[in-house]
Symmetry: D2
Subunit: 501 residues, 4 copies
């Protein structure tokens, strides 16, 4: 997907708890900061970190921009404590105020809590109405505040919970089934939670003493929870396992503890967003026990089977489509080569282009490697097409650069429906797959042919590699017994739950 | 009072409603901005403005620093609407986060509300506990949020109020008797409210069409509410009247309307903070119908009677003590002259002074006009003494500069008790009047004598000029019948209500 | 003078040399920073400090805004060295670039030099042409760069000077006779220089060990040079003496040394800008041995003699006219009182006022103390009138506030001519004294009468108190023999030198 | 090269002239801004643009950071004019002051000039000495200022040139033979110049009216000069030709004109920096008529011939080594696959890492795609190795991730000598090729083998594709007759000219 205005993931969340007593061996604030840098691809417009130095004192730092520009040395020095959570996000229009940056912190009857979440509550309107009726004034308009106030007061049921935050989280989860992965911090404990459908990813890692000796027993100095495991290598952590759909995992200085798994209604399957595999997650992340990169490769292989092409060169729109393109080429035995060179800095230019430059469109972003494809028939692989407004000028560029034929192959099916679970998808009217019959799409884009991967092909490529690794004993059993299922609502229009607002 | 770390007023509040239909003749955002500039002496560390362009859309801009640096032309352009409220404040330690800047805005079941207040709730802890017990998570730790949530849900009484905001305000006022002056905005109406004791000032002004002809009937184009009337001249407004203790006044495009006056318990007297006259208010403000400057003059006159001195020159610590000093001199028939020249820029320097410069202390702030007082006996008038840590080096400066004698006369009584109603007074242990017997204070400060104004003298100087002006008819009657009383708790330790936390 | 767009001084300069060896007892960077704060009234838009830690390394920090906001703790920590110079300035249109901020630093054949100056070279065009003809490319368009390049290469005379910077300064001074006070730093020496006419002020102070015992021999730990002595009290310095017109004084760790005095041509008198007394200098500064405040008082007394008035109250436009007003009142035996209260924050607001607010004009800046002057005849003293565009609305304000009569008395003569020596005076066409006959001016301003101080009166008030104090021996002799004369070109049109460009 | 502290190119320069009369069809400021974005890889710490709206007025904007964050819409609106030049650079220690940001602008006897350059003058010390002896004070310490002052005054030869800027440029070029590519703007003309050895790249493009009809005659609306042609696609420009070594090309509204070619001494060959092909230039740029990407491919092919390996997988250190890796794999018929996933955001984090995180080193930057290489023998291709301090932990990462063998192949020869021509190369003692015998390097890095491309191989890969394209007629002849040669000084220690400082 090359379109800046294409799909956007809302958030990345990251938490860290040091094991043992204060002062801990683990540098909690630095670890969270670098963890967020590892999740930066999930949101680049603001970030925040809250650490806890005890029951009644949270250290907070939030800001606009990239993680690396928000947190300075003196900020990290102030973010003391032995546990903390962080968040990085895209802001959407009207919500770029500092007040909306997560984690969200409130004082409750039972002390301070901090909440960071990724996802979008499908029944947010209903929950908000409940809270307002209860007399709570809401100051931000974010789902994060809804969740936080929901955890705080449990409007439906009087107040039987007291300081039992696990009971509160369970109750809140029963009131909203998706979509969220969230981290909640209270006192010296952190809770890592995924909605019963597991729509948003969340996994757990451990940090071991780097001066470990060679004995089997390594010393664990900290536990982390992260939207994606790609954040682990940057902080020296090892993948432990996923938080399961509906699960509440407690992380504390004593270690990790799984509290319960809130069941899905009506024997429904899990519904991890399949676009985490297609586009959102970094290719070196592990989801459901498999490397995302491998899924993308299998998509390429499947696409080669479903939609081969007789061409001279296979190439990619840099760079998330590269694994699929390499594998598509290998499967068909056709040479792979690069045809476009991406200028990474264009995306960071916010000036209003002049009329002349606006017409150039995507050309601003790509340089041509014309000698690589001159007079050749090319297949150009993209991972997905949303609006199609960048694919069209790319085809034009390649044709002007001397390509004899340009065939588009998309390593995922046509996107036809909006997402209400945290992904910023354009309206149905903007999705190019809804605007033209498939057979006309190629000519609309100026291409010689265009074919998508089938939904079945995508699901097969996704599900055939799922296994659950790197655990032992009881936890391993629980993980392995987890059922398999994915949300393909944006492809089929069939949402995991009925949307009735 | 020359001490930067002396008394600090917490806030100034300012609201404006344009009369008639949109687009109104009145420039609401500019008016509020300049109004806040007029209240800048009440708080210089952050400010915010919220305007309303209709039921469901508030325009908000907040920032750290002086009003003039926060609001730029494009900010004001975005602050559209026909009414709005603003706030300027000192931040106290740990509260300088953007999140704490007023006005406070929340969404309620009945639409958005915005609240700006000046003061400190004496039963804040009790109210907070109620809110937390009701399950409201509090995100800021400010009284403003307490008031806002209190207005939103009325925890004690179910919810008989619905969108009747006047009933809600009344109920809230009954739950907290002081100290607050507040402005609340909802829909196209604004409510200006003072606590039943009238501890913090709040008054109303009107803006008339500047192109008015000479006929008696001037056209009113807007109503304003402001902590002090000194903000009026800067925006072309005319003083109308005070909001009375306990009164709720509605300002809207239809004009102003007094809704009710919440009574004080047990036939108690009003308790406007007497230090508004002594120090906080600007001398050109009108409180209780009298010019603050006149009260300060009378304090000087009274001080001359109570504590005359046989000297050659009367002078002042620039510049809030000047009215008292001029009048003290006139009463005793002794020449008045300037002895110190203040560098206004020192206060805006935040660098850590070197040890050598720290020793200079107050000398950094004042230049000597030594030829004016060489070999003379001086009375130096100050409006108040808090810690005394600047008066001591000033006396030293003057003696070094050639003063034969330096006699201190303070135009208010010794401050001995903390304030819990919105004024940042040092702890009892830091108040110099608690550290030394009065008869030793002069020698501690290096002065030849030191005398304070008596409490009776201050009260007399304050109360003898109260009248209520510039109104007609029924409103005038109501204002004039208002009883007279002032809070002198920091002088006597007798607080308007029992403090039981 | 109440007009923001009135006269503006261009600059303040400040230098400091620590006595003895490194690490010196004196905190050079802090001292310069606080010294510039003491000169802040001479320029508020940018500032810079250069310190020298040896022959080949200068530490530099410059910025836009007030001194207190430019220099942070870490900046001062980096500004190491045992001597340094600083500068604070107004920027004029088109020159607000960082590149134009002084001090100006260049590398020369003989090492780095830094130059800070106050003033305007009357033959700048001629000098610039010389430099350009010599092949020097000029990068800033400032007089500071001209002076610096002039010092560097001496275009007229080959290069007989080498590293003899005193010879270079002398040669440069011969090429441009006014107007400048300048500080130049090279190696471990600083040179303090005034033009032969002494048009801009510059004086010398010493810093003694604050832990001095009572013996006569105090230990000097540093020498300073400053545009005005009002900067001394803030840094614990004592006034030593003025730099004389045409004098080059060297300051170094060995102490101070007067090198020479460049004579004026044709037996002309010195020409210190008389408006330093009237308006620019702070009233606690010493010029030519006398306190500026005393001159302002004498102006008031002289004005009372030349232009008395039969009124009930004498008042002032706050606040530079206050000394004259107090003395005018005393001389006539009429009560002095305050009628206007100034809002110090208005000047720091940069938003474009709405049309309605623009009409309010000066009212934005002043609050009325109406009860002080109701039904009275007032004399309002101002120190000077430039455009008159603020005096008119002030008179209107006072009349509206109930003044029976308003008589204007100006404690200086009419300004009729532009200044080419560093003061930003409006064009002749904008000077109100050129627009109306004097006798019509009062009615133009809405006043009942208006009278200026005579030129003779101003000169008399200025010159009758000149003495030279606080020195001993030979230096005292030299200072006392200095002739007396002042530049009144803006009043008479007679400039100290012929202007032929 | 994966090392952040490896080689750094100093600068990118870009100029644009609109054809025809003002107001021109071409958006000059936008074009320069987007042109600089296209050169951003050549310098990311500061940038500046100067446009000319006529003889005596230059519009200037400079700032620190990425181009996209420096230039806002209102900046571009102010950068009016029909021609302009821009610059983007790395700052080196001590030079990050705003004052050092190019383009450098000075006023000369013949009007304003602006200069932007890329390169480093090998005889800078000599030139500086000349200028200082002539009495010019230098304010920045940059080569840009040296060049500018050199152009301004021609110290050796009196002043026979007047406003003949071409004569001045020629004279300046004769005084300093390398290294520079520069753009100079004066009046309505711009000069694009390369040193006689052509050490730094500079090429010319044309912008044609985008609404061109299909006739042969396209309408040229502007000419541009740029360090690299990769900047062309982003602004809709077409490659025209290179500026030849020693050539002065004038760009103006009349079009382009080649003025002369300053010859090299002693029949020496040109000396374009060979690392422009290896690393600095973007792969879609055209140098000497060939696509840089093609050279990199040929390096990979040559490396396969010189240093084949019997492995299971060929991979790359993302991402400049990818073309070589793909071609190396193809040549040997071994599968190519990705093994590392780069986190692009790590480089933008400036916080001091904690000790624990510092130990992680390069792992912060790369995620592993372990399933791609588990149990395989890998060749890892890098384009070059400088210090080797990132290659060592990468090898470790791969081994830990399950690689059976890791063989390093470097697509360029060992770097052994410093560069004095504009590339920031570490000292000899830091270059890993100087620290270990080649045969020990593999084991030092933990690799199973390590081989470099030979110097002859690199030169062959570079030179065999040179041709000169896209021109007609006389200009084409001149370009084609240009000799071929490259600077390999950092590999051999043989510099194009004798370095005698």
């Amino acid at each position: 997907m090359t379109d800046d205005a294409g799909l956007r993931e809302a958030c990345g969340i990251f938490g860290c708890v040091a094991v043992g007593n204060w002062p801990t061996e683990l540098d909690v604030a630095h670890t969270i900061c670098m963890g967020l840098v590892g999740l930066q691809h999930r949101g680049q417009e603001s970030a925040g970190i809250v650490t806890s130095a005890g029951m009644s004192l949270f250290n907070i730092k939030k800001g606009m921009g990239l993680v690396g520009s928000i947190f300075q040395d003196d900020d990290l020095a102030k973010l003391q404590g032995n546990l903390g959570i962080g968040h990085t996000r895209y802001s959407t229009i009207g919500c770029s105020e500092m007040i909306n940056i997560q984690p969200f912190v409130v004082e409750t009857l039972h002390g301070l809590i901090a909440v960071a979440h990724n996802g979008e509550l499908v029944n947010a309107k209903h929950l908000k109405d409940k809270l307002l009726r209860h007399g709570v004034g809401l100051s931000t308009g974010t789902d994060s505040e809804l969740i936080t106030q929901l955890l705080t007061h449990m409007p439906d049921c009087g107040e039987p919970y007291g300081a039992n935050w696990i009971a509160r989280i369970k109750k809140a989860m029963q009131q909203t089934l998706l979509s969220y992965a969230l981290l909640m911090m209270h006192g010296d404990k952190m809770y890592a939670v995924r909605d019963p459908f597991g729509n948003r990813p969340l996994c757990i890692g451990k940090i071991v003493n780097s001066s470990e000796n060679t004995s089997d027993e390594e010393e664990i100095i900290g536990w982390i929870a992260s939207s994606e495991s790609c954040a682990f290598s940057g902080i020296g952590a090892k993948y432990y396992r996923e938080v399961l759909p509906g699960e509440i995992v407690e992380l504390s200085r004593e270690g990790i503890k799984s509290h319960c798994i809130i069941p899905r209604p009506e024997a429904k399957l899990p519904a991890l967003c399949i676009f985490e595999y297609v586009y959102f997650s970094r290719s070196d992340s592990i989801l459901e026990g498999q490397l995302v990169y491998q899924v993308r490769k299998r998509c390429g292989r499947q696409l080669a089977k479903e939609a081969p092409a007789d061409v001279d060169l296979i190439s990619t729109v840099p760079e998330s489509a590269t694994p699929a393109a390499l594998e598509y080429a290998r499967e068909l035995g056709i040479p792979y080569g690069e045809v476009l060179c991406k200028n990474r800095y264009v995306g960071r230019t916010f000036i209003q282009p002049s009329i002349r430059l606006r017409k150039l469109g995507v050309a601003k972003k790509f340089g041509l490697l014309a000698e690589n494809f001159h007079d050749k028939r090319i297949v150009l692989i993209d991972d997905s097409i949303v609006r199609g407004n960048t694919m069209k000028p790319i085809v034009q560029l390649l044709k002007n650069g001397g390509a004899k034929e340009v065939h588009i192959r998309v390593a995922s099916p046509p996107i036809r429906y909006p997402c209400f679970m945290g992904i910023n998808i354009p309206t149905k009217e903007e999705l190019i797959a809804n605007l033209f019959p498939l057979e006309e799409l190629a000519s609309h884009l100026g291409a010689d042919s265009l074919q998508y991967l089938s939904i079945e092909g995508l699901v097969k490529a996704t599900q055939e590699g799922i296994k659950n690794t790197r655990m032992k004993g009881e936890e391993k059993d629980k993980v392995e017994k987890n059922e398999i299922g994915h949300c393909v609502a944006c492809l089929t229009g069939e949402y995991p739950v009925k949307l009735d607002w």
